[in-house]
């Protein structure tokens, strides 16, 4: 029984421009702000082996100016009117967003349309070289110089069969980043950064028809992109258990148990997501209350499933307490996994999970930024900006039995990848 009769929702209007650009508008006049959120349906999975990291490198290049916007001026124009801007890259998509004082909507639309339509004339070798250095430092900072930083790359290498695009990391390999040529970067842009491969969402304080006109004015004459290549279907999941142990500059062993799960948006995905929250979210969850508080084998533990399109990584990750071995920790995790597959979790765990998810759903509609982000995400992945309602009902309708079925079907020992990171032995 939900504690409130109100359900989270994001009312919207949707349009499609003649060039294929999908436009989603959500009006919220609480504060004089507008969030501009642009998703391109291109991520690291659209790259080719040997040329990984292009989508992410591109995210950087898109802030380096376009035909009418000078190098570094994107951030300058946005910040000098009191705006914020950023972008991010993931397996399936890249996004770019600005939040601006409402009267500066045109500024944001100018910047986004200029880099969608007029990027290539401003793309130079010098800018590419500079951002390559920045990206290599980003990789060092986030991956190479972080304890456990390389674990996820190894995990995905083991988890996905050769040819599967989730096998390589979003940020790419150092060699590939270093090798990318200006021509390759240009080609990648021509294919994927076109209006018909994007969703533009505006959320905030504006007049609906006026905003639609402004978008039409800035984006209406940008050319539709070429036909995008049909990418090979990912190979089937690998049979059999895979194990590896890597040593790293860490003090405490960490255990990763991972599986290839169902795609985001499917009933099975929601069953998995609900199971992860029921099993591992909060002090009173079975994983935390047993492993961290009770038996005190772990310093931390989490269970999750990625929201990705070509199947999804689902994993349970735990870090050992000092003096606890990776093997003992893994054994304890196994007990929980077997239990989740054998019998439904207790009712209160599901009540907690549902209410926590309801709270996060409400938290997700508190700001114009996060509303715009969700509308873009749902429009990109499911062709339906209103997919939030489907998502909430999927959570509401998922039974404890469906969650058990998920554990039984996906969290199988003979399909899993077990990776442990152990402290390197030092002289």
């Amino acid at each position: 029984m939900p504690a409130t009769s109100v359900t989270p929702e994001i009312p919207f209007r949707e349009y499609r421009l003649a060039n294929g650009l999908r436009l989603v508008l959500h009006r919220d006049r609480t504060l004089p702000l507008v969030a501009i959120n642009l998703w391109y349906h291109v991520g690291s999975r659209h790259e080719l082996p040997g040329r990984t990291g292009l989508a992410h490198l591109f995210e950087h290049m898109l802030f380096q100016g376009s035909e009418h916007v000078g190098t570094n001026d994107h951030f300058r124009y946005v910040q000098q009117v009191g705006g914020v801007a950023n972008g991010s890259t993931w397996y399936d998509r890249t996004n770019y967003h600005e939040t601006l004082p409402a009267q500066h909507l045109d500024l944001g639309l100018w910047l986004e349309s200029d880099r969608m339509g007029f990027l290539l004339p401003a793309l130079t070798q010098e800018k590419l070289d500079n951002q390559r250095d920045v990206v290599m430092n980003e990789r060092r900072q986030r991956v190479d110089n972080q304890p456990y930083g390389r674990a996820f790359e190894r995990l995905h290498e083991l988890l996905y069969a050769p040819g599967h695009p989730y096998r390589w990391p979003v940020i790419g390999s150092m060699e590939d980043i270093a090798a990318a040529t200006l021509d390759e970067v240009r080609d990648f842009f021509r294919v994927y950064y076109s209006p018909d491969n994007a969703v533009l969402t505006l959320a905030g304080d504006f007049d609906l028809s006026e905003a639609q006109d402004r978008v039409e004015a800035w984006f209406g004459d940008l050319a539709t992109g070429p036909v995008r290549p049909v990418l090979a279907t990912p190979p089937a999941a690998i049979e059999g258990e895979r194990r590896d142990e890597i040593s790293d500059r860490v003090q405490l062993p960490r255990v990763y148990l991972a599986w290839e799960g169902p795609s985001y948006g499917t009933d099975a995905w929601y069953a998995g997501s609900l199971l992860c929250v029921a099993l591992g979210s909060g002090k009173s969850s079975p994983l935390y209350s047993d492993l961290v508080l009770g038996r005190q084998l772990a310093k931390d533990v989490s269970a999750f499933i990625f929201p990705t399109e070509l199947g999804a990584t689902t994993a349970i990750v735990a870090t050992a307490r000092p003096g606890v071995s990776a093997a003992d920790l893994e054994h304890a995790l196994d007990e929980h996994i077997e239990r989740a597959a054998a019998a439904e979790l207790p009712g209160p765990d599901f009540e907690r999970a549902r209410n926590q998810l309801l709270r996060s759903a409400f938290a997700g509609i508190e700001t114009v930024e996060s509303k715009a982000e969700q509308l873009s995400q749902f429009a990109t992945y499911f062709g339906n900006p209103g997919f939030l309602q489907r998502e909430l009902s999927a959570y509401a309708e998922t039974s404890p039995e469906a969650a058990r079925q998920f554990a039984k079907r996906y969290w199988r020992r003979d399909r899993r990848t077990a990776l442990t990171v152990v402290p390197e032995t030092r002289p």
């Binding site: 100018w110 920045v134 209406g220 500059r249 909060g282 870090t319 907690r352 309801l358």
Partner: protein, 452 residues
């Protein structure tokens, strides 16, 4: 394709200047029991966030008992006279709510948030953990071990190492000379008696505050708080200790060896200002253009001009006493010396030359414009309102700050830079491959001997 370009792409679209957004209305009253209630209504989404602010933080950590304040805060929700830790956590979480407790240098906090329908239970829970904690010995033991495990886990985190070394150098022999969480030895030394006496001395005071925001009726919150907290114990407030870090003679450098590190973590800085410093608004504008935003001098220099780093920033951390002023970045190790020179150069430039009108305008407009972004959620409002009660500030502190920032001149920036930036007496910490770093710091300052 329409074929007709209806917009002029060659010019930056102009619009009217940033409008100043007012801070939303809130109430602030002191109840007869001594508790101050600060509450703001934000009705758009049925969520509430409520926080008890307890005066007493890590600035009162006794010598040899570093980490005590955060440990005491952590113990508040580990069991009460009414419920054990498991029962408490289960009932809070089953309603979809959360309950956290923490301490910083200046105060301790217990926070709960959840669906608005549960606000009364939320208030009772806050009262229960703040007024009736039992500090069970078994949970004390567990939490202390958990904190030690966290500390052990941090040894290989270059950013945590850099922060720790910088803190120890800068604040040696002051109340801020340690990490909030403490260290392995101090956590080992802390007893359950230390916890209960710190609680009685510092947290159970009559000048606590309740800060609430969200889909709630402020008057109703005040009324119910009056009932629930009617018997708040009386106690005296402890004055914050005086923190006057000693500046080094010249530039002092600590190299922390991580032989195979892929990168070097850099911290460059010195003592900054108190939250109560009258120069605060000028320094906010100064820092914004120096290292507080993407288009700041330091980031554009180190990242966009040189490609040394993924990002560099600076900030003044404000506390009761003088917090740090620090520039932070992770750079490719072969450029650590060059990056440091660039940073020191930027600090000097600000002390020597007036900033341009355009740069000043950009910084001010940025700070005014982004102000409303942090007024969108219940959590945001609680974050802002808690400052008023922790530091005893007037209700119009936000408006005054905005007004003061708007009034900042180029001359103010120059004078403030000369008063508050001291590159010639900076502490520098570099965590990376020492052998490669040592020659790069030649001529920058004195490299402190290892272990000193």
């Amino acid at each position: 394709m329409s074929g007709i370009d209806r917009v002029d792409r060659s010019r930056v679209p102009q619009a009217s200047r940033v409008q100043v957004v007012k801070f939303p209305p809130f109430i602030r009253h002191r109840l007869p029991c001594g508790l101050t209630v600060v509450a703001a209504r934000l009705p758009r989404v049925p969520l509430v966030t409520m926080e008890l602010v307890l005066q007493g933080g890590a600035q009162h950590d006794p010598a040899g008992r570093h980490g005590l304040a955060t440990l005491v805060a952590g113990m508040l929700d580990e069991g009460t006279a009414r419920r054990d830790m498991n029962t408490l956590a289960a009932s809070v979480e089953r309603a979809g709510s959360y309950l956290t407790s923490s301490a910083n240098w200046d105060a301790s906090f217990v926070q709960t948030g959840g669906l608005a329908a549960h606000w009364r239970e939320g208030l009772s829970t806050l009262a229960e953990v703040a007024l009736e904690p039992t500090f069970p010995a078994v949970e004390f033991e567990r939490l202390r071990r958990q904190r030690q495990a966290e500390l052990i886990g941090r040894r290989d985190q270059p950013d945590a190492l850099a922060e720790e070394h910088f803190t120890r150098l800068l604040f040696a022999r002051t109340a801020y000379d340690h990490m909030l969480v403490g260290d392995l030895e101090s956590l080992e030394a802390i007893t359950r008696d230390d916890v209960t006496s710190f609680y009685s001395a510092h947290l159970a005071a009559d000048d606590a505050a309740l800060v609430a925001a969200g889909d709630l009726d402020p008057e109703a919150v005040m009324r119910v708080a009056g009932e629930i907290f009617a018997h708040w114990p009386a106690a005296t407030r402890h004055a914050p200790p005086r923190v006057e870090p000693r500046a080094p003679e010249g530039v002092s450098i600590r190299l922390v060896d991580r032989p195979q590190a892929a990168q070097t973590e850099l911290r460059i800085g010195h003592a900054g200002i108190s939250r109560l410093d009258p120069d605060r608004s000028v320094l906010r504008v100064l820092n914004s253009l120096l290292g507080g935003k993407f288009t700041s001098r330091i980031n554009l220099n180190l990242r966009e001009r040189h490609g040394y780093t993924y990002g560099a920033s600076s900030r003044f951390v404000e506390r009761f006493g003088r917090g740090p002023f620090v520039v932070s970045c992770a750079v490719s190790s072969e450029h650590a010396g060059a990056a440091t020179r660039e940073v020191l150069g930027e600090l000097n430039r600000l002390r020597e030359e007036l900033v341009s009108d355009e740069e000043l305008d950009d910084a001010r407009n940025y700070l005014l414009g982004v102000f409303p972004y942090a007024l969108q959620t219940a959590d945001d409002l609680v974050d802002k309102l808690e400052d008023l009660v922790v530091y005893g500030l007037p209700n119009d502190d936000f408006e005054r700050h905005l007004h003061n920032m708007m009034a900042v001149t180029k001359e103010d920036i120059l004078a403030s830079a000369q008063r508050h930036l001291h590159p010639e007496k900076a502490y520098i910490v570099a965590v990376g491959p020492e052998a490669a770093l040592t020659p790069q710091f030649d001529g920058i300052g004195t490299i402190l001997p290892t272990g000193s």
